[in-house]
Symmetry: C2
Subunit: 305 residues, 2 copies
């Protein structure tokens, strides 16, 4: 499974015919993750061929409607389709009650396990970890408590070369240590060198999602050196004052964050409905950080160097 | 403004790529009415050119998610677009709290007036009336309290013929009475006959919306002789047992209701996701009631004889 992001919705608060409310589907280390779930996300998943029964984790950044109004519908559909796998939902405090209340009035109890992890949006913390990846929060600067997220692959083991397995001194118990980069001194005193018998794996990559937020340098330490940064860019420079007043960012401000955080690539989204597309955003951002692209619904990209 | 219905969503509980969750837009006597509001209704309104800022009344049949999960998003969008006209929402008891709670967590109070009228789903009653139309509830038979609705034009006044206005004995004060069908005896003792001086207007029409419901003959008196009946037809005859178990109807059962209620036309919708389209539904219904059509998202039809 590749480390890949699919944009399900790229609009700001008002959806348009071209841009649905915010949602992104991420695959990383055999996990399927949904970030935010604006109204209509389940239809976007169908449209773009995302198999939502495979979702393991849902991350909700904050409780403005364009980031969570689609969650209850998605959960209802999972239930109707007979889901029984458990699901982890990492979300702001208060969301579980809202979901449960809406289902209870229709006598539609969910019959699969959901583990809710409720956040305050105030602290940088690791909220999920398994043997190959972890998810951290990034406290953002917005009108209500809001978290960005960083999804990180853990450093990967080296790969055994095929021919190394046929080495006359090789034993099964050496393999794990060699993959970790350890050299082995055999009983006969010979040395098996990891660098000679294994190849390096692809470097661990990371994806940072920062939406919604005003320009906030405080987030830079948390997203430093990530491979790909998605940063909201609700406005262009023409509406810089409006960005400030609404606690959103301009494309240029997003680029400034990307530059200071030394990321490899920047994707811009959460575009206000006043813009037909993100061309102007991209142009303005590139003055500060050249490796910038604006997203559109249905776009997929790999998180790799 | 014509008495017209636009289908915004025709699916059952599971939306598909072709069919969105239930919603219908109705214009009648200069009123704009939304019936039900499944997830994605605001996007469907945009797609089909329905101007939602003009909505006067929203009717919600029941609290299964596919009939109301889109309401909070629609109201949020109305707010963001600066709505100030008041709105009437006629809905099951309990819905206002759900809406308010979801907006409050995002600090998004609605700043236009909403008059909520909460119903129990148990009684046939007039829930809205103005000088030209009225709306009645139809208690349906479903798993949770559910209302259908009948939207009725009031009987219309006759129309004055142009040449009648030039009649030598005509006075302004006679016109209203002649339009009502009254004959006038003038001061001179002459008689002005309404039938000779006015033309009949088009007859008053009516639209009945019955979704979701099991086969229920108890509803027939409430929808007797309506011009157009929309009746749910979640299943075909092949799944008659499933219809019974889930308290939905087959197309043939919907046709049976239409026949006994002596309606002019029948539209079928709320089709289960297992069917690619409603051709089979229509075919089966026509065996019982020939003037039957299945609906698709985006379809519009007039309510007229």
């Amino acid at each position: 499974m590749k480390f890949e992001v699919t944009i399900l919705g790229s609009s700001a608060a008002l959806p348009t015919l071209q841009r649905n409310s915010t949602a992104q589907f991420v695959t990383c280390c055999n996990r399927s993750i949904l970030i935010d779930c604006g109204e209509g996300t389940q239809m976007q998943m169908r449209k773009f061929g995302v198999r939502f029964q495979r979702l393991d984790i849902i991350l909700i950044s904050h409780l403005h409607g364009d980031h969570f109004f689609g969650l209850v519908g998605l959960l209802s559909t999972m239930r109707l389709l007979g889901r029984d796998a458990k699901l982890t939902i990492i979300c702001p405090k208060g969301l579980p009650e809202i979901i449960v209340q809406q289902l209870e009035v229709g006598h539609a109890q969910l019959d699969f396990d959901i583990r809710f992890i409720e956040l305050t949006g105030k602290e940088h913390e690791v909220v999920y970890e398994d043997k190959s990846m972890l998810i951290e929060t990034v406290p953002l600067k917005h009108k209500i408590p809001t978290n960005g997220f960083v999804i990180r692959e853990k450093p990967k083991e080296r790969k055994m070369r095929k021919e190394s397995l046929e080495h006359p001194l090789m034993k099964v118990e050496y393999i794990h240590r060699l993959k970790k980069g350890e050299d082995i001194v055999t009983e006969s005193g010979d040395v098996l060198k990891s660098l000679e018998l294994t190849d390096a794996s692809k470097p661990a990559c990371s994806y940072a999602y920062c939406s919604d937020t005003a320009y906030a340098e405080k987030i830079i330490p948390f997203i430093k050196d990530v491979t790909v940064l998605y940063h909201e860019a609700t406005f262009t420079e023409q509406h810089r004052e409006l960005a400030k007043a609404t606690m959103h960012s301009t494309a240029k401000q997003a680029a400034e964050i990307a530059r200071q955080a030394n990321v490899s690539r920047l994707y811009l989204g959460h575009l206000s409905a006043r813009y037909a597309d993100g061309k102007q955003h991209e142009e303005e951002a590139k003055e500060v950080f050249s490796n910038t692209i604006y997203v559109e619904d249905g776009m997929s990209f790999l998180v790799e160097n």
